[in-house]
Each structure stands twice: as C-alpha cells, then as structure tokens.
Amino acid sequence: MKLKINHKKIRKARELARMITRPVQEYIEEHTTISIERASLRLCGSSGATTNGEPIPNTITRDLSDKASKGLVKYYINALIQKKLNPDSLNQLIKDGFKLSSLPLVDFKQIQDKANQLVDTFASKIQGHNEYRRNKIDQYKNNENDPLLYVIVATGNVYEDVKQARAAAIEGSDIIAVIRSTVQSLLDYVPEGPTTEGFGGTYATQANFKIMREALDDVGKKENKYIRLVNYASGLCMPEIAVMGALERLDMMLSDSMYGVLFRDINMYRTFVDQHFSRMLHAYAEIVINTGEDNYLTTSNAYDKIHTVLASQFINERFALNSGMPRHLIGLGHAFEIDPSLKNGFLYELAHAQLVRDIFPEHPLKYMPPTKYMTGDIFKGYVMNSLFNFVGKLSSQKILLLGMLTEGIHTPFLQDRYLAIENAKYIINNICDLNDELVIKENGIIQKRANEVLDNTLAFLEKVSSLSLFNSIEEGLFAEIKRKKTHGKGFKGVLKKDVDYFNPFEQHMKKILNMD
C-alpha cells in the first residue's frame, strides 16, 4: 500500500533542507559549548561530584572557564600525565579541591599520546556495546513486535521505575522510555548518582541509566527479548546525556535540533551546536535518535500544520546526516493528533503517516498517539488509541509509542499500560498483512491529501530557506513560537573554538563516521 510519490519534489525538499542547514552547519563547525566540553571530559573518564553535589566536569569547567574555547580535554589529560593518576584518582583529587588550572601544560606530543589511549578505551567500550546490542537484537528478532511497542515509565524514583519497567516488559513492550524530571532540561549540570525524587519524571543520571539497563537486560533474558532503553538528551546538557547514554548502552535517545529552542526557550545557537556533537555520539554508539515533531501538532491544529512536521523532519534528517548518522538510526517522529470529530480524519492521518513512511523508507519512524483530544472519557480515548494503532500498523511505522487511555487524567497506572499493550498486540496481529493487500485509490482523498501536504511542505521550506533558519525561528514560523537569536538559556555557554582547539574524541568520531 504505497502512495504515488513525486520524487522530483522530494529531491527538491532535501535540497532545500541542505541549503537551510548549511549556514547553521558553518556556525556549528566553528563553535563548541560548555556542555560539549563537559561531555568530552566525561569521555576521558571524569565523573563523580563534590560534597555539595556539583559534578566534577562542572567543577573543572568553572575552574578553566577561560580555557574552554581551547578544549578542556587537554587540561584533564595534562593532569593525568603530570600527576601520574588514572581518571578515578584524578576525579577524587579534584573533588578534594585540586585545581587543574594550577598546572602548566606539558608538550603537546605527550597529550596527544595519552589522548590516543583514552580514545582507544572509549572506542573499545562503545564497540563492545554495539556488538552486544547487535547480537542480542539478532538473537531475539523473532520475539520483537512490528512495530516495536514503546511505553513510558516515570515515578521519580528509579527503583520504582524498575518495577514498572519490568512489568511493562513482561506485558510485552519492546522499548521502555523513562521520562525525565521536568526541570531537568534547564539544568546546566547533570545530577550525580541514583535518584529517588523527581517532578513529573525521574532525573536522567548515569547511575539511573545503569540501574535501568541492568534491570532490562535481566527481564529481557527471562522474556527472550532485547528490551530497548530510551532517555531524553534534550536540554542544556544534551551532549553529556548523549555520552552517558553511549557509556551505559542505551538504545534510543530523544534528540531534536529545534525542540529545545521552541519549547524550552533554550538559545538556538547553543542547541544547534550541542545537537551536532550529541548526534555524532549517538551515531557512533549506534543509538537511534527520536525527533520531537509531535510537539508541532499538540500546540497547533494538526490538520493545518502537518506540513511543519514534514518540513522539520527534512531539517532534522539533514542535521543528523551532517553528524555522520546513517538513515537507519534517524527515527523521525510524528503523531496522530487531528480533531477526532473531523470527517475523514482517519483518512488524513493515514495519508500523513503513509507519506512520511514513503519519504523516509529506511528510517525507524516513531509514531506518537493522540494527546490533545484525550479527555477523562477513557473509553473514547481507548478507541482513539485503537485507530492510532491501526494507522501505525497499516502504514508500517517502526516505533509505536503506545497511547494510554488515561492520558487526559494522570500518569499511567500499571493497568493502563497493560490495556495499551494488549490493544496494540491485538491490532498488530489481526491486521498483520493488510498493508500488502490494499492499494491506495488514485486521485482519491488519501492520495490528494498527501500531495497537498507535500506541496505545502515545499512552500514552507522555500520560505525558511529564503529567511534563513535563524530568522524563521525568530519570526515564529515553527509552532507559532518566536524565539530571538541571542535570547534563551545557555547562550553564554557557546564559545568560538580557538585556533588550537583540541578534542580527540570529536576527531576520532568524525574519522570513524567518515565525516572528514
């Protein structure tokens, strides 16, 4: 069941995306951020926190703030060499008050040699994870659902999350995402250690990642499945969370090039520079990224604004490709958010979903359930989710974020999640090969709608291209939200790279990802 796609128009859209991202990419190449520097320190092995909770990478960044534009890895490595310590011991020394800035630099050759060692350590760790993951996915591929069923847990307490995640895995989900504590995207540090309190979610910390990873590997063994773990890299610490995800073998990460700017009021330069480094890490660690286009539909009329979703997908795709990411890791997002009272709304949802499927054939598309029109009427909500599951399966989406019948009321009960999984499994099985059996009527409602959306998308991309992406965001073209170029959080943390900027991890990843 495919749409008739105008390939010339698709090529034009991709060309426009290239033109739109080019000036941004040029800016990105010349800049780093304090979060990228902290992330790079973490890649060297810097971790832990001082007694008042400040993470060591933040301590280092504060101490060496005037050197950040040269790349802070150099100074950390310098200390490893001069103090003859391993990273754990150096971290402890810094915790006890030692300042990296107190040491003069040794000659660069020594730093380069040590850097190579650290890069090798990092490389083998990640390659090990990648191989493990590939083997497990292959081993259990007959037990996966198609689409993969994605559910969310988040109690604020990682140990409670583990219980819910285990239950969800046993009930049949393939992917577990842990929603973060809502304040986290605006924190300019990543909290240290396991956490048992959060507001609207659980903090993303490396320790929490490790705990969940272990729990899911354990339940996966019992269920003969590889359970994928998702977290959210968005926010001021995107690169650091990307590092943690890579080190702890997460499988998917939320990573959007514009979400932070539009919906969290984070400075656009900061976001664009951070997302590039983060996505290189995701690509290197074979982590699928999910993008946040669902947000355009929850904040605006889904029928009218679907073209902004498709436009954003082209832009997100281009930024991801610019980060060396292969298409099979670019899990572009979209959602089922048309007003349920709209006549033929189902046909339009199908048109939109199939259009995205046909334009991005290799991509593990993430399809998200209705939220805007979900109310306290849980029975209606359950039916809306059923239609969503039907469209998701029929249009061959890859990742199905399951709708909860109680979306309009509270965060899911265990039973809500069970009902959602049972619903999806029933529909997926019951209509399994329907996609192969149906042909879309030529010049019918669905085909016409798809054509219209593509045309609207092209017109929109032309406008963005003529204004520039930065100006387009300022003028509120995306999600009708205006964000000024130099406003928003985190702008101070964007730094122009010095001529002698050094980041061996970035160099290594660029080489392996064939970005040179």
């Binding site: 304040v183 919906f263 969290r264 904040t299 306290g376 009321i409 265990l414």
Partner: protein, 225 residues
Amino acid sequence: MKAYGDTLDDGKVQLSFTLPDKNNPKTKEAAKQYILQMGFSDCTISHTKTLSDGFTFFIAYATSSVDIDYDKVKAPPQLEFETMDFDSINLFIKEKIKRKVVVVGACTGTDAHHYGLERYPMIEAVNLGAQVSNAKLIDKAKEYNADCILVSQVVTQKKKHVENLTELIEILKADKLRDRYIVCIGGPGITHQLAVKLGFDAGFTKGCYAEDVATFIIKTIVQNK
C-alpha cells in the same frame, strides 16, 4: 439517586483496579473482599489478568446501596458563558476593546504546553515556555502590560502544583497587583472550582480550548471596564 445500570435504582457500578500480588484464587478472593468492604454487594469479577509477577488486574461489576439525596446537592461555582468562535473573538476585540489583548502564559514547573492563542490576530500571546518561576511570570506580565496571566499546569504530582499556584496569587496580592490582571489556570487536574478556591479568576480543564479561554478573557475585560 442511585447508579443506573439497566434498571432504575439498580445501583450497578463498574470497577477496575490492580492488586499487588500474583494471579491466583487467593488474590481473586481478596479482590472480591476489597470490593465488598468498599460497601458494594453482589460483586462479580468479570475479568482477571496477570500484569506481571506480583500484579493482577481486575474488572468487576457490583451493586452499591448508596443513595444520594439529590435535592440536597449544591453545584459548585461554574464558568457560565457561550464560547465564541475564532472570527467572533477577533471581531469582538476589534470593536469592543479596540486594541490587542495581551496574554502572558507560562507552564510553571511543568511540561511544555500551550493554548493556540498565538493564532488570534487580535491577541498578543506571550508564551514564556516551560519552567518559568512565578516571579518571572509577573515581571513579564508587567513588561508586556498584560490583560491576563495564564498558567498551564499539565503535571499534577501530589501537593506541589497547588503550592506553586497559591504562591503566584500570594505574590500578586503582596505586590498589590491581583486586581490588575485576569489570572487563569488551565490543564488536567484543574477544575474551575479548584481555581476559584485558590484565588484565580477561572480554571480550564482538559477539554477546554483556546476559544474557551479567549472568550472568558475578553468578556471579563469588558465586564471589568
């Protein structure tokens, strides 16, 4: 007044819940006892399902003998008005208010959410985004000379959201600004009754859309003139 299943006064209620133990006859009996101890009778467990080891889900039907004296029931305060549509709202503002209506909105301490008020040409909607402190919200309301402050509270987690909301009203009152703005809350877990109780002018539950909020704001502005 009793619940109505298929006959007047039959008191039939549908329930579902999860018990934290294995799916076995003992847990099923516990589910029945649980329902009976809630005051129900004639309980039938229509469906039992293992959620995972240690959790079992029940769907049940039971009879309640509770009888409400309907005559004695008093309805809490309601928002009474007829929602206008997009075009009528813009026209009303042009003709009756004769300038743009300014709404400063934020999601204090919660996830991102917004109202679609940005789409109205006669409304200047300033969306401060997520995690905005009450102090900043008030500062921006002053800066933009707002008519209305709109708080979106999507997350409801224990007492925290109520504390945040009451703090906003308290600061406004302390700064003698309470009467200068129309202050509203929107989101799941909010009812108009709760909003009024906390000192707000209106509360908009899930199921209310931009037109409802806009209609209330513009009618209140004209009323207050």
